[in-house]
Amino acid sequence: MNAPLRELTYAQAIQEALATAMEADKRVFIMGEDIGVYGGAFQVTGDLVHRFGEDRVMDTPISELGAAGIAVGAALAGSRPILEFQFSDFATLAMEQIVNQAAKMRFMLGGKVSVPLVMRLPSGSGTGAAAQHSQSLEAWLAHVPGLKVVQPSTPHDAKGLLLAAIDDPDPVMVFEHKLLYKMKGEVPEDAYRVPIGKAAVRREGRHATIVATSIMVHRALEAAEVLAGEGIEVEVIDLRTLRPLDTATIIESVKKTTRLACVYEGVKTLGIGAEISALIAESEAFDYLDAPILRLGGVDSPIPYNPVLEKAAVPQTPGIIEQVRNLVKGRI
């Protein structure tokens, strides 16, 4: 295909996926707080309510637990709900339905039902919204069998992973990053899917592998660019799916580069980097390792309001450069 490149923002790409799915399948509907005439807190749903009507773009009361349960029930009864949490932090109110019901229903009922729902969770820090509006809780949900968890880092993947999530017969949690909503990138017009469970090698390299998620993919790529100028060639893997993990792609890369750093925004302790590290440490790649496995994650603190502190709380490009340089130079 030689169609001219078209750029959309990450938010527009998500909106396009929603519209595409609603047009293709009458069962698909979206629900959430202020997603109708307000257009969503981050203007992701935008004008969809005018295109699809209030019955398919449903404003809910501020009732996260109830809304999540309604999504479960609607999915069981043949509809295809997509629930937007206004901030992923508020999903803490709905954990019961997400974890005890959506994730386990199929298993508990002996495989006799599926729960095809999608939840969208705007996450991450950097907006000055402080500790209760800035969390990255994706590791929680990646810990839960029965769920699938994706975390797109580009407009292209935001659309493609969301469409794959909507197709999926099982519950899929989509962690979006608030700072990425305005990022632009190429987005094909057709209804392509990005497969759930496949990582993407964003840059090839031979001295070290960085496995990064979400916005950290971009910081890792910036760091790789700088390090390349120093002769250090870093392979950057965009994890994209946190459950199920694309173990093969990571193992293969580490066998080649012999060094691994994980860069993620969630709290370092028990964040996704812990799993990647442990995966490698128990895999065949272990024998190839020439250095300890590095984790760069969020500090052990809630996200502060003050912007300088807020930046200090999660990995930034200069820190990634320095630490990966040390890793490759054997200083860790």
Binding site: R27, A67, Q97, L109, G110
Partner: protein, 344 residues
């Protein structure tokens, strides 16, 4: 001088409650059959549990059969129910086969949940039962979601949601009833108020006297039924179902009833008196219904005895079936977590 039988019958008919006209004699006898089945099923399960044949825990609804059956009588197969940890009655009420329930309790592949769910997750999706729930109030928003799907799909089905008095203290109850009401969804909320949430009485856990008193906060009718009288339950719920089908929105029906067994096997009944239990035993819903069926000329004593005997036999056969079922293989431990043939 005793009135001739025919006269007594016609007089009874004129005083008859709508219940006896809304349902055919066959339906009424089927209702009794299901009540008997529930009772025997639970007695059988209890015995198997005590003999160590069934593990885990279970919550018996003995004494509450009228609400389970009365509330499900007017439902179609395509209507949904969501149920609770005390859900055996709801399951049989909605049409499940006791032998497949027993197979579930015995942890067998033949069970409704292939032995993965047990008593607390008993379900029969085929008959519209979306499942018992181990989380108090967990099924309430799920029922509302099913009702939303029904409305979206322009079906005239309803979702009926069972829950206990204790569940109404959960936030999920509040959120779900509010949304059901603002969106006028075809859902019927059936609270089985058996006076206790485990050990805590409604007096100690609720600020109002009746669960139905909470309905006004959601601008929906709140109706109280005698939960030990099937005619009372069925009339209230039938009206609520009709409202729901006609697009007039949800109703909250409170069935006042009582569980004569403990909350679960570990209950030592320290929070209530023997007298209270005995008093309620006298109000047995099955005995009451049998008397009424005879009094209303719908069934003879012989027919009732036959129904009861058939239930005994069915339960005994069900237990046999279950014990001879297939044990799942430990290699299959993760089977059923995800849908196979999954696109991604």
């Amino acid at each position: 001088m005793a009135k001739p039988v025919a006269a007594a019958k016609s007089e009874a008919a004129s005083n008859q409650r709508p219940f006896y006209k809304q349902f055919t004699p066959e339906q009424l006898k089927e209702a009794l059959r299901r009540m008997c089945l529930i009772r025997r099923f639970e007695e059988g399960a209890e015995e198997a549990y005590m003999r160590g044949l069934i593990h885990g825990t279970m919550h018996l609804s003995i004494g509450q059969e009228a609400s389970a059956v009365g509330a499900t009588m007017a439902l179609r197969k395509t209507d949904y129910i969501t149920s609770t940890h005390r859900g055996h009655g709801h399951c049989i009420g909605k049409g499940a086969d006791p032998k497949l329930m027993f197979a579930e309790f015995f942890g067998k592949e033949e069970g409704y949940c292939r032995g993965r769910g047990g008593s607390m997750h008993i379900a029969d999706v085929e008959s519209g039962n979306l499942g018992a729930n181990g989380i108090v109030a967990g099924g309430i928003p799920i029922a509302v979601g099913a009702a939303l799907a029904i409305k979206q799909q322009k079906r005239d089905d309803v979702a009926l949601c069972f829950f206990g008095d204790g569940a109404t203290n959960e936030g999920a109850f509040h959120e779900a009833l509010n949304m059901a009401s603002i969106w006028k969804l075809p859902v019927v909320f059936v609270c089985e108020n058996n006076k206790y949430g485990m050990s805590v009485s409604t007096e100690r856990s609720m600020a109002v006297a009746n669960v139905a008193d909470r309905a006004s906060a959601y601008n929906m009718p709140g109706v109280i039924a005698d939960g030990n009288r099937i005619e009372d339950v069925a009339e209230a719920v039938t009206t609520a179902i009709a409202r729901a089908r006609e697009g007039q929105g949800p109703t909250l029906v409170e069935c006042k009833t009582y569980r004569t067994r403990g909350h679960s096997r570990s209950d030592r009944n320290r929070y209530r008196t023997k007298e209270e239990i005995e008093e309620w035993k006298l109000r047995d819903p099955i005995g009451h219904f049998e008397t009424e069926l005879v009094a209303n000329g719908i069934a003879t004593a012989d027919e009732i005895a036959a129904i009861s005997a058939a239930a005994d036999a069915e339960i005994a056969a069900g237990i046999d079936f279950a014990r001879n079922g297939t044990d799942p293989s430990p290699n299959d431990v993760t089977r059923g977590v995800y849908t196979p043939g999954n696109p991604s």
